[in-house]
Amino acid sequence: MLAAATLSVELIFGLMAVGVILGVLLSRWPRACGWACAAVVAGAAGAAAYLANIVFAQGHVEIIAGSITGVPAQLVLHFTPLNVIFLLMILGLGLVATVYSVQYVEKVAAESPGSSMAAVVRYYPALMLFLGSMAAVVSISDLLFFFIAWTLMMLPAFLLIIHDYRKREVMRAGLKFLLFSIVGNLGILLGIIILYRAGGDFSFATARDTMTAFLQVQPWTAHLVFGLLMFGFLTKLGIYPMGDWLPDAHPAAPSPVSALLSGVMIKLGAYDIAHMALELMGRANASSSAMMGWGMALAALGALSVLLGGAAAAANTDTKRLLAFSSVSQSGYILVCLGISMAFIPVSMQMAGLAFVAAMVFVIADGIHKSLLFLTAGSVLHATGTRDLMLLGGLGEKMPATTKAAIVGALSVGGIPLTAGFVGKWLLFQSALQGAAYQPAVAIWLLAIVVGSILSLAYALKYVGATYLGAPGVASSREDVREVPLSMRVPQLVLLLASVAAGLWPSLIVRPAISAWVTTAPVPISGMAGGALMVESVGGTTAGGYIPPVILLLVGVAALLAWGLSRLGGAPVREVRTWQSGLELPLATTRLPASGWYWPFTPVLRSIYREIPMPDVPALYPRPDGAFARGWRRFERTIAGLLP
C-alpha cells in the first residue's frame, strides 16, 4: 500500500511539473495549452483521489521522500484525512478552474495589449506551479520544507494576480499581496526558527516536543511561537486586519484564479491553523486556560471578520470585490469554528469536534460555492466586459445557465436550508450554543454570527439581483452579450451539482470531516452522527436535528402544491410593461442602481471595513518605459524566442 501511495504522490507532483513545462511549450496555442494543462491536472486529481482512498482506509500515510545532507530536515510527506481533504480540493477545484480557463484565457490573451503568447506563458505555467506548490504545502509535514513550499506558493500566486499588470490597481493589489504575504511569512519563519533552535531539527514531532517543554518551563515562548505562526496563517486566511490584501487581490486576478485564491489558497490558512492548533498546541498538553484563551481570541477575530466582510460585501458594487469581501466573511466563520473547537478541547471533546467539523464543512462548502460564484462573475466579465454592478442587471435571460449557477451559489453562501452553506452554519450554531453554556463569551460571537448570516443573505441577493435580475443596465443590454461557451458552463455546472449534492446529502462532506477530526484530534473520539445530522448535547439529549431529505420533500411538495393552486383558477397570463406610475420611460430610468440598495445601512456598511493603508510606491508600478516593464518585455521576448 505504501508503494501505491508513493506512486500516486510521485504522479501528482510529477504531473504538475510536466504541466509547467507543457504550459511553456504550448503557449503559442492558447487553447491546446489549456486543454493539455487540464489533462495534466485531471491526472493529478485522479492520483490524489486514489491516494485519498488509501489514506481514508488507513488513517494516515507517511512517505519520506529524501533529505538534504548537512541540513537537519527531511522531506516528509504525511497524509491524514485532514490534509487529503485539502489536497482533493486543490486538485479538484484546480481541474475545474483549469478547464474554465481554456476559453476564458484565450479571450484574455487575444485582447491582451502585448502578444497573446506572452499572456498565455504568464498564465498556465504559473497556474500549474501554483497548484503544485499548494499540493506540496498540505502534504509536507517537516517544517523547513513546508516553509519552502509555503513561500514558493506565493510567487505563482503573485504572477497570477498581476496577470493584467498594465492596470495600475492590479499591480497595486499584487504588490499588496506580496507585502502582506512576506510579513506573514516572516512571522511563520520566526516561529519555526525558535522551535528549531530549541529542538535541534525541523521535524513536526520535535516541534511538538519542544512546545510541550516550552509550555512547562517558559510558557510565554510557547505562546509567542504559536502567536507568530497564527499571525502568518491568519494573513493567508484573509482575516481582518492582516488579511486585508484579499479584497484587492481577488478582483485583480483573472476569474479562474480568483476562484482558486478564494476557494483553495486562503483555505490553506485554515488548514494550517487547524493543524497547528490541534496537533501542535493541542497535543502539547497546553493548559485549558491557554487553549480557551487562544480559542476565544481566534473566535473574536473570526467574528470581527464575519461582520466586517459581510458589511463591506453588502455595500459593494463590484461583482468580484463583493465576492472577495464575502470570502473575508466566510473565512471569519471558519475561524470562529476553529477557535471554538480549540477552546473546548480541554472541556469537551464532543463539542470541540462539532466545531471542528463545522469548520471543515465551511472550508469545503465555501471552497465549492465561492469558486462557483467567482466563475459566474468571470462569465459575466467575459460576456459583458465589466464587473460594475451599476452597469449590469437583467442578464438572466441572456445567460440562463450562469444565472442558475449564480443563484445556487448565492443560496449556499447565504446559508439557506438545503444548501452546503447551511450545513456549516447549522453545525456552527449547534457547537456555539453548547459552547455558550460553558463560556458566556461565545454568546457574543453567536450574536455576531447571527447578524453576519443576515448580511451574507444581503450580499448574496445583491450579487444575484444586481447582476442577473431586474432591468438590464448599460453593459448588460448590449447586443453582443451572450451565454459563455460550453467549456465554461460545464465547470459551473459541476460546482453547482457538487454544491447541491453536499447540501442535500451532508454526509458527503460531514463524514470526511469527521474522519479528519477523529484522526487529528488530540484525543480521538468515536464517530459522530452523520447522515441525518442529529446532534446530541453533552448531557445526552437531542440538541438539534436537521434531515435535509425530509425538508426537501416538504418544501418540494409544498411548492408544487402551491404552484398547482396557482394554476387551479385557470388564470390567463399576459405580458405587460413594468409599471412606472403611468409614464412610459426607458426601464433603465427606474432601475434601482446597486449603490442605492440597502439604505439606510449602505453608508454605515461602507464605512465599517477600513482598509489597511499601504505605502504607495509609484516606482514599483510598471511605467511603459520603466525597468519592470522593460524586464517583462525582455522576458516575454526571450520566451518567445526559445519556443518553436
Partner: protein, 564 residues
Amino acid sequence: MSRHVELDEDRAVTAEQITDSMRRRLGDGLLDSRPAGPTRLYLTVDPAKIVDAADELFNGLGARFVISAGTDERENRGGFRVSHFFSFDDEDLYVALHALVPEDDPRIDSITPIIPGANWAEREIQDLLGVTAEGHPDPRRLVLPDDWPADVYPLRCDFDTRDRPASAEGMAPPMKNRPEGAVMVPVGPYFPTQHEPEAFAVFVEGEVVVDSDYRGFYNHRGIEKLGCADLTYNQIPFIAERICGICGFVHSCAYCMAVENAAGIEVPRRAQYIRTIFLELERLHSHLLWTGVAAHIIGFDTLFMQTWRMREPVMWLCEQLTGNRKTYGMNIVGGVRRDLPADAHEKIEKVIADVEREWSALTDAVPGDRTLIARLEDVGTLTPDQVRQTCCLGPTARGSGVAIDLRIDHPYAAYGELEMEKCVEDGCDTLARTLVRLAETPVAIDIIRQCLAKMPDGEIQATIDEEIPPGLEGIGAVEAPRGESFHWVLTGENNRPKRWRVRAPSYQNLQAIGPMIHGDVLADVPIDIGSIDPCYSCTDRMTVIDRRSGQMRVMTREEILDRR
C-alpha cells in the same frame, strides 16, 4: 424666523409712494398709473422695462408676487397684454403691472430670474398665448398636452373653443436627466397618494431625494378660455365653483368679488355674512378632509376614518342649507342667490358644536403621539426665504412663519367686522403646516359663531341695472383653505368678461415641492407633497382631454373595456 423683507410701520407704502418710486426707477418707462380705490393700483409700463419694474416691486418695495396673466388684445390694442400681479399684504394693496407686447414680436423679458415664483406663470403665458419669456431658466412646455402641436396657442382669440388641433409627435417636454447613481421614482401621474393625475419625478440615491421634476396639467380644462368672451358674468360663478372639488365656493366668491371690484358694485351686508359662513364651513370640511388624507398617507388609517366621519355632518349641513353637499351654487355677482333657511342657526350651531368637541379631543392627542410627531417633524423643510422666493401661500407659508392671511391682510366679505387671529407656526416643516391647519379649524368654528351672532337682516343681492362697461379691471382674492385664491377680471363687450384669470394657491405651493423634498427620504415625499394640501384640479383648471389625441370625448363603457 423673520420675514425676508421686514416692512416696518414707517416703511408702510401707499399707492402714491409706489408710483413715485416706480417713476424714479423707470422714468419714461412708467406709462400709466391708475389707482382704483385705496386697495388697487394698476400700472402700465414699457415692456422693455418689465424686469426693472418687477424688481422694484418685489425686491425694492418688498411686495409679494401673485401671478401673471396674458391677454390677447390684438383686435383693440394691436398686441398682447402681459400682466404681473403683486400684493402688499401689510398695506391691503394689490398692484398690477401691465405691459403691451407688439403682435409681430411677441416676446418679453422673463422675471423668473429675479422672482423664482413666476416660473410657471410665465411658462403658462408662453404655452397658451405664445408670448415668449426671454431668458426663462426652464422654458419647457408646462400646461399644454404632450401631443399639442407647436405654434397653436389656445388662449388667443382666433382659436375657437371648438378647434381640435391634430396630434403632433415629439412635443412632450423632456424630464430632467437622472443624476448618476440615482433612480427615478415616478410619483404619479397614477399613484396611490396622488388623487389626481400629476407626475413628480423624484430622483433618489438610496432613499434620499437628490433632485425632482414635475409634470402636471394633465387635465387642463380650459376653463379660463370659456370665461373669455364666451360666458356671461352670471354664468361664470357656476363654472368657477367647479374649478375645485373641495374649495369651489372660494372660486365663485373670488370671481364675483373681482367683477364687483371692477364695476364698483356694493354687496349687501347680509350677503357678505352668508358668504363668510360658507367660506368658513368650506375651510372646516377641507381641513378635516386634509387631516384624513394626511393620516392615510402616513398609514394612520384610523385617524383617516375618524376625521372623515367627523366631516360628514358638515357636508350634510351644507346640503340642508343649499341643496348640495359641495357645489353650493350660492354666489352671483352682487350677492348670493338664496337666503339661509329659517332654522339654519340651530342646525349650524349643533353641527359645529359636535365637530368642535370631537376635534378638540383629537388635537389634544396629537402632540402626545410620538410616532406621529416623528413622521412629521423636520421633514419637508421650507425656509421663510424659500417661501418668499417661491411665493407660497396659506398654511404652507404660515407654517414657515410667514404670516399671510387674506382674511386679515385684505379683508373681504364680512371679515373686517369679525375678530380673529392668524395661526402661524415657525417650525418650517410638515409638522408646522399640520399644526397650522389643526389650529385653524377651531378658528373657523369661532368665525361661524360670530357670523351667526352678528348676522344683519336685509337684502341678499345688489340691484344691477346696467351692463358692465368694457375695459374695466377688478381683482378678487379669497383666503382659501390652501391659501390665496386670486381672480382677475378684465371686462369686455356684450356683458361678458374679456379675460378672466384664475390662480389657485396650489399653483404657487406646488412649485415649492422641489426645495421641500430635497434631502428628505422617499418615505417622506408623499406626506411632504400632502402637507401643502395640493389641489391639482384648481391648479390645472381642467373637460377631459385625451392626452394622446387631444380630443375631448366621453368614453363608453364598452370602449373602456375594449381598451384592456
